[in-house]
Subunit: 304 residues, 3 copies
């Protein structure tokens, strides 16, 4: 049962939770979103974790699921952008291997600064694979179209549905899921691990909604949670997880969540031009910067 | 009066001068360029400095203006690219907060190498905001068109006006100003702080002119100072400011100014494709690289 | 004769060989590819090495050719993309100077991690010059068209010619050469320095071929060696050169070669949009990441 718990913790670590029950609920959420997300997410998690294990990575980190979560996301994102097929499965395994090497490399590079690599290995590997895919006939053959929701429903007038769907989808889009009930299951999974984390995720999703609305983002994109998930990840990361809990810390986390939201369109438009996707880049970049700044701000403290 | 001097020093630090009289002259230059540059430049400087102060950044650095200059540039650049409106003011405040966090983060990351962050926080924040802006209806609503001067006047034949306008505009474009007398006021501001710095700026502006002409840049762009300002900043930074003054050092600074000029079109063309702007990226990149290389070159020495 | 040997070693160091006979054979290969590659490659090597020498770089590194190889590649690549003319010669000298500064800067920055800069200085300088070139009338005047081979011959059906040409061109494209016999001369040059290195290069070229075919790359591009040269460099670098030779190490090197191949289209497509070229970016990025990860993998060891 230990390997099973390791894999489940890998899935839970996408949201920084070393809790296999949370991982199980997350896996259920993925299958609720579509069988392919569950299957390819598992495949990526296993490929990445196994590679780390074979190359002799630190056993403690493997058991905590720290070698798995980038593989989970690679599996989910690549099946979304390339379609469910055998060739995608091969690419997911290869990408899982690559995230494992990248995870160790980033850990080494960021160690002097005491900052984790977060989902950057996933972002890097997925970005280059998606950019390259059109040149790879066998990979690109069955790829689905994934236009932004605002392509078919432009305009910035929010409906009540946009609001509450957007709230839950902000949590679900961390795993690239766009059904409100899938987001709800993820939120339940977070609450199982920690009430505080679930509250931070919910608050951050609301911040994302508000900032995006204030800037004038298309309502359909807000409703799909596209401006919420990077805020959610940033909010969780900066609320007690990597930053010590304090009044100033909570304000800092809220600013971080707002910044990740405001950064979303910049990254998204950049990638639209070259054929990539936003992924969790805004979260990674904002949380790296916000955590890196902490030692020079006397009002803030890193979590230990 | 102390807060006023701090804000003025913030403006002067765009050109590395911790001198509030220089800052006052720079502020006059901004208002001479247009009221909006003065007002939004001040707004950005205050937002960035205040954030640093509230988060508990080093008091000495704040008083020297080191927490302000990226905010100044954020204000000036965003009002140029997004237009003078209330929404731009909100974005400038938000961007000012973000540059403050980024400034500390870069300081931490670059500390092992003894290199400052320069205007990189400004470049990063402005780039992502300008890239994202078209997706933000409320932000993008009143944006002006800012075509390159060569769009309306192509051709590489330089007139005498291109030459002397280009010389002064090279100094003024550090603050994105394209009127020769504004550049002249900036040059006077520099001379108030240090004759050497003013001379370095003038020489670097000439180097930029010459290199751009030699490469065959459109005359209108040279005349607008677009190939001079990164050379000016690089020239000042490497002439006695961060690099010890010596014959080899001055040659190195001249090579740096030429390199920043030659890099300008590469950065500019890259950003044209995705919708961004050159900003002071060439200066930041070239000066980082040139300063980083110093420890391995026995003929050169960092300033202490 | 010492300066001559230094320059020849500079050329040989493109493939990590501090051997002047290998350098001589490489130079012959360049001239076999076209007089301009030999002449401009020499020009770049001399410019870079001389700059390092004048600025007072470490004498030992200069003699080993470590200050030359980025200049070699700058010369070869720029004459390919900008055409053989006097203005290109000026640009190559300027770019050679810039690579020299960048080489030292990268050495300083990467020192804490014990990783070399590889051909990154060449990639950086060439990328920004090629991106900027269309804005530089005098530089761009005589540039040739360099369409991908698949532009005139699309389709993924490999012929036997594609296979064996692709095998040799994978070695030759390290120097941007696309004639099979030029690749063969390079392979002979490698064998003169070390049989192991030549074997690693050959194996890596085959891995590149196979991975590219498996992904469904256009046959003409595979035949031209475009998916092989980054694999070749990565394979040599990770087989005993920077990574200690061991069974796990060889598997790791093979994975690295495959990863560099898979990354090629991602980098290539990105640069196609903005007007740049793949160069040896995939090798640089993959080998940096793979080497950086080594300290955390107990099955692997850096070469000493």
């Amino acid at each position: 049962m230990r390997p099973v718990r390791t894999i489940l913790r890998g899935i839970a670590q996408v949201d920084f939770q070393p809790n296999h029950w949370t991982g199980l609920i997350f896996l259920i959420a993925l299958f609720a979103g579509g069988w392919q997300y569950g299957v390819f997410g598992l495949l990526g998690t296993v490929a990445a974790t196994l590679t780390a294990s074979l190359l002799g990575a630190d056993r403690h980190g493997i058991v905590l699921g720290l070698e798995g979560f980038c593989g989970t996301l690679v599996g989910v994102a690549l099946v979304l952008y390339l379609g469910a097929g055998w060739m995608t499965a091969v690419v997911v395994v290869g990408a899982g291997v690559a995230t494992s090497v990248l995870t160790s490399a980033l850990t080494v590079v960021l160690k002097p600064y005491g900052i984790p690599g977060f989902t950057a290995p996933f972002c890097m590997v997925t970005t280059v694979m998606v950019l390259g895919a059109p040149s790879y006939d066998r990979v690109w053959a069955g790829h689905p179209d994934t236009p932004a929701p605002s392509a078919s429903r432009p305009g910035t007038t929010m409906t009540w549905t946009d609001v509450w769907h957007g709230f839950f989808n902000g949590v679900g889009q961390v795993f690239f899921q766009n059904k409100w009930y899938v987001g709800l299951i993820f939120l339940i999974g977070l609450a199982v691990s920690s009430r505080l984390v679930a509250a931070a995720a919910a608050a951050a999703s609301l911040i994302g909604l508000l900032v995006a609305w204030g800037l004038g983002v298309a309502a359909a994109d807000i409703g799909a949670g596209l401006y919420g998930y990077n805020a959610v990840l940033t909010g969780i990361a900066l609320t007690g997880t990597f930053l010590a809990l304090s009044p100033a810390g909570v304000v800092f986390a809220a600013i971080g969540a707002a910044t990740a939201t405001a950064l979303t369109a910049g990254i998204g438009n950049l990638f639209t031009v070259v054929g990539g996707h936003t992924l969790t880049w805004p979260f990674v970049l904002v949380t790296w910067v916000f955590l890196a700044s902490v030692p020079l701000f006397s009002k803030l403290l890193r979590a230990t």
